[in-house]
């Protein structure tokens, strides 16, 4: 405190301008806060959280676990084996949902799974058994897994198996199918089913053999860190990451005992898919966020995920409870003739990337895609600058070159979201509203405010 009286202090002023002006007139160094009333939340709830003596340390613990988490690729195995996924069970993106509430692309994905697994022989039959509740639907997040877009994962699909060597967590994600007409975007035509069968019969076994043969497992976190130096943000742009993954996996893939035509097809498939790495990046983020689960008093977000109907979040201080609100429709650019009316509301577990501080939060790292999602380079820089005010830490492992290698904004604080009134910025793909359409575009989206309102109230209740 003697420091306070040692000489005229710099002043940070929040509120009435007249005081700042009077201080400037005295030659003081004054920085104004552009203060606004909180975007939401009962003032008493906000105060309870701000004054919760556990919160600072809890948030530090939570975010330090996130920053400490590593991610190495240990195996590739079918979901049936590695997740113990029972017959007639399908995992999906986002919070829990029923067939009745499912949107077009999720329905399309579920239908595709039934056809792919042989649980139905026609679309009509698939719809009937899904509507009759004969298929169990569960969120990927309930199984240490994540899935992009519809996130539909059925027992015969091969899963990337990742481990956090620091804290021992495990996370899983299916293999990326590529762009266009794909199951995760809700397409289920012959082309989609043929590809899924090839992935089951060729791609999965080759990757499994290759990964198991690697004496040094692939350090996926290191690839993610390097991608950010190469123009990727790890959500909507995975170009450099996919090439690096191909580079790292290729020597092991070509050494697999399989027909050379299969090896060539695998390499061609990976090389032709700019989002191949997304399904490795997502479980990497999932490992880090799961490491921060169950820290009483922490107001940090551990999950942001959408099922195409609802957006759901979880926080470190509230365990596996979901806080949900209606999923918003992304704004952005459309493929071909598609337009805004064709887009489904927000869908996918891929917002785990933003939860981890990359994707939309590290938009400044990826000027190459800002136009694709309908923005400008200054917008991208401003977005990341704003996200620093929502987050608890900067991740030194995920450095953003254009910001002077500042670490990515990491660990969303529900209290900061309320106080700034700014919602997290998510980069996303857009699926067609009608089941079977596939991808229609890409753009930007935010969670609905309701998720954070409910989380804030629940976190505040936990302090009392």
């Amino acid at each position: 405190m003697n420091q306070l009286l040692a000489g005229p202090p710099a002043v940070v002023a929040a509120g009435v301008d007249v005081f700042s002006d009077a201080l400037r007139a005295q030659g003081a160094e004054v920085s104004d806060v552009d203060w606004r009333p909180p975007g939401f939340g009962d003032p008493a709830d906000l105060a309870a959280l701000v004054l919760d003596p556990r919160r600072a340390a809890a948030n530090r613990t939570a975010v330090e676990r996130v920053l400490a988490a590593g991610s190495v690729l240990t195996d590739v195995r079918p979901a049936r084996e590695v997740l113990g996924l029972a017959d007639r069970t399908i995992l999906h993106a986002g919070p829990p949902i029923t067939w009745a509430d499912a949107s077009g692309p999720l329905r399309g994905g579920l239908i595709g799974c039934c056809l792919f697994e042989g649980w139905a022989s026609s679309v009509e039959e698939a719809e009937r058994i899904l509507a009759a509740g004969e298929i169990t639907l569960e969120p990927c997040h309930h199984h240490s897994a994540v899935g992009p877009m519809a996130g539909v994962t059925s027992p015969s699909m091969w899963m990337w198996c990742l481990e956090d060597p620091v804290q021992g967590g495990k996370a899983y994600c299916n293999l990326n199918e590529g762009l266009g007409k794909v199951l995760r975007m809700g397409a289920f035509n012959e082309e989609v089913l043929t590809r899924l069968a090839w992935m089951r019969d060729v791609l999965g076994p080759v990757l499994a053999a290759a990964v198991r043969s690697m004496s040094d497992p692939l350090d996926v976190k290191a690839v993610l860190a390097q991608m950010l130096q190469m123009g990727d943000e790890g959500h909507n742009r995975n170009r450099a990451g996919s090439l690096m993954a191909l580079r790292e996996l290729s020597p092991a893939i070509v050494a697999v005992d399989a027909p050379s035509s299969d090896i060539a097809a695998v390499l061609r498939f990976i090389g032709g898919n700019e989002h191949f790495f997304l399904n490795l990046g997502m479980p990497t983020a999932k490992l880090a966020m799961d490491a921060a689960r169950d820290v009483p008093g922490s107001t940090m977000v551990t999950v942001m995920a959408r099922n195409g109907t609802e957006f759901g979040i979880q926080t470190a201080g509230t365990g596996d409870r979901w806080f949900t609100g209606p999923a918003q429709t992304p704004v952005g650019l459309f493929l071909g003739d598609y337009g805004p009316d064709d887009a489904n509301p927000d869908i996918g577990d891929s917002a785990i990337m933003e939860t981890y501080g990359v994707g939309g939060f590290s938009m400044a790292a990826a000027p190459a895609i800002v136009r694709f999602v309908g923005g400008t380079v200054p917008d991208a820089l401003a977005t990341t600058e704003r996200m620093y005010q929502l987050t608890l830490a900067e991740n030194p492992a995920m450095a953003i070159p254009i910001l002077g290698f500042r670490g990515s904004p990491t660990g969303i604080d529900v209290v900061s979201v309320a106080r700034t009134g700014w919602l997290p910025q998510i980069n996303t793909g857009m699926a067609g509203r009608v089941a079977g359409t596939g991808q229609v575009g890409a753009g930007l989206v935010q969670p609905p405010r309701e998720c954070f309102e409910q989380a804030l109230a629940a976190l505040a209740a936990a302090t009392r």
Binding site: N2, F19, A47, A397
Partner: protein, 488 residues
């Protein structure tokens, strides 16, 4: 001379780009006693390079690991170099390219960008002040909460947290502070000097610091602690911390404690602590037994061996109060209103108020009841949704006009507070209303010549509008009482 020392380590989970690592290698290599440095990702090429330097890692390296290899003249230089590498890798990089200014929404985000000592000044609505103030405490900085309407439990929690963090919470509802010559909120331009004020009262601190200035004595700091600090609920948390801070401050030779009537148990605790300090502490806590801030200033001046001057004043229009005239005190400063009531009650009997000396004297919603009345227009209940009466005179002007219209014979007693943050020309705002009333008007004009408004300029303008003007609120009150005495 010691034998050369070497450090070779491989670190996982750390990635930095090669340019940054080259900078680190170069900077650490430039340290005294360091003869060779390689900080690089452990690619085969870099491992080979390290081998060539005689600094090969013993365990097998992978390109995702960070290789730190250093040779130095001795162990001390080596330890320094390793620490320098750690510090450089942990150093947060500041943005070098920022396209547009992103608004900064919280005190915490602002303080992030400030390295030295800072003071947060919070004047957001009371229900939200706690978050901004807590940001400052969390950042290890002191905070002045100007906001009123802050729940007392927030105040207690903030002050406890601040005490633990070794910082000070001034306020809430702290209108006045001067820190190292920097005037914050409503404060006057007073000379620097040896007297430190701890003030649970904003206008009380202004009155005291202005009178000291008029006597040629300056202040080191004015630490406002908020009007509730000496209540039972808050227990003097900030007063005790502020006293300790001033005691440790080399510029402060004497401390004057200014407050409204404190809770007796808290007053006793504060007196006990004050008695144990090395700096003499004098109390100017208002009470029926010591109702006069001017007298407290005079006592302090006496202790310091400084002559008490004739406090400045200006004669006003020779209006006489009508028969049966009553006292109408219309104040903007709560402590000045209290002082007026404490001085008037023994002479006039009960004085009703929105901030009464005793609960049974409370006014209801109607402030224009007949009889002796003192209104504090700066009270929280009257500032909801509008600026403080030192800035916005509307309610007080309405009250003056309503009194004139009522025809009730009265002596009008007002305070006018000058300084930073206050109305730039309060005399001009008051003059038309003063000209419309036929009652005698007495003004306590709190300020200094160096204030932006200038004490004499304002005093002359108020006198020209018919007011009797006093630099001392106690003298102004006694003059008003004399006028009432003449009327009875």
């Amino acid at each position: 001379m010691n034998a050369p020392a070497r450090h070779v380590s491989l670190r996982s989970g750390v990635y930095a780009d090669s340019v940054r690592l080259m900078q680190v290698s170069r900077d650490v290599g430039a340290r005294d006693g360091v003869t060779a440095v390689l900080v690089a990702m452990a690619t085969p090429l870099n491992v080979e390079l390290a081998q060539g330097m005689g600094l090969a890692p013993e365990e097998p390296a992978s390109p995702e690991q960070l290789l730190v290899a250093i040779r130095a003249d001795d162990d001390a230089a080596l330890a320094g170099a390793v620490a320098a590498v750690d510090a450089a890798l942990a150093e947060r990089q500041r943005s070098t390219a920022s396209a547009q200014t992103v608004p900064v929404r919280t005190v915490g985000a602002r303080l992030d960008a400030i390295d030295g000592p800072a003071l947060a000044l919070v004047s957001v609505p009371g229900a939200y002040a706690v978050a901004e103030a807590a940001d400052a405490i969390a950042a290890g900085q002191s905070v002045l909460v100007f906001s009123d309407g802050v729940p007392v439990e927030h105040e207690v929690a903030l002050k406890r947290a601040a005490h633990d963090a070794g910082v000070l919470v001034m306020g809430p509802d702290c209108g006045t502070a001067i820190v190292s010559g920097l005037a914050l909120g409503f404060a006057n331009v007073v000379r620097p000097g040896p007297v430190g004020l701890v003030a649970a009262s904003g206008t009380g601190a202004q009155q005291v610091s202005c009178l000291l200035d008029m006597a040629g004595v300056g202040v080191s700091h004015v630490l406002g602690v908020g009007g509730r600090d000496l209540s039972e609920a808050v227990g003097g948390l900030a007063t005790l911390d502020a006293l300790a801070a001033l005691d440790a401050d080399p510029a402060t030779e004497r401390v004057l404690l200014v407050s409204k009537p404190p809770a007796p148990s808290v007053a006793a605790r504060v007196a006990e602590v004050a008695g144990g300090l090395s700096t003499p502490v004098l109390s100017a806590a208002l009470s029926p037994e010591s109702p006069d801030l001017t007298a407290a200033v005079e006592a302090l001046l006496g202790d310091m061996g400084v002559d008490v001057p004739d406090w400045p004043s200006r004669p006003g229009a020779a209006r006489t109060a009508g028969s049966g005239a009553v006292l109408k005190g219309f104040y903007s400063g709560g402590t000045l209103a209290d002082e007026a009531m404490l001085l008037a009650s023994p002479v006039l009997g009960d004085v009703r108020s929105n901030t009464p000396l005793r609960p049974e004297l409370a006014l209801g919603s109607d402030l224009s009841v007949p009889g002796h009345v003192v209104v504090d227009f700066g009270d929280d209940a009257l500032t909801v949704g509008r600026a403080h009466p030192m800035i916005d005179p509307t309610l007080r002007l309405e009250a003056i006009d309503r009194l004139a219209a009522s025809g009730e014979p009265a002596v009008l007693l007002l305070d006018v507070v000058l300084g930073y943050g206050a109305d730039p020309d309060p005399a001009a705002a008051l003059a038309p209303a003063l000209a419309r009333t036929t009652s005698p008007v007495v003004v306590a004009l709190v300020g200094t010549e160096a204030d932006p408004q200038g004490w004499s300029r304002q005093a002359d303008a108020l006198a020209a509008a018919g007011a009797h003007v006093f630099a001392s609120n106690a003298q102004a009150t006694r003059f008003a009482l004399d006028l009432l005495g003449a009327a009875r």
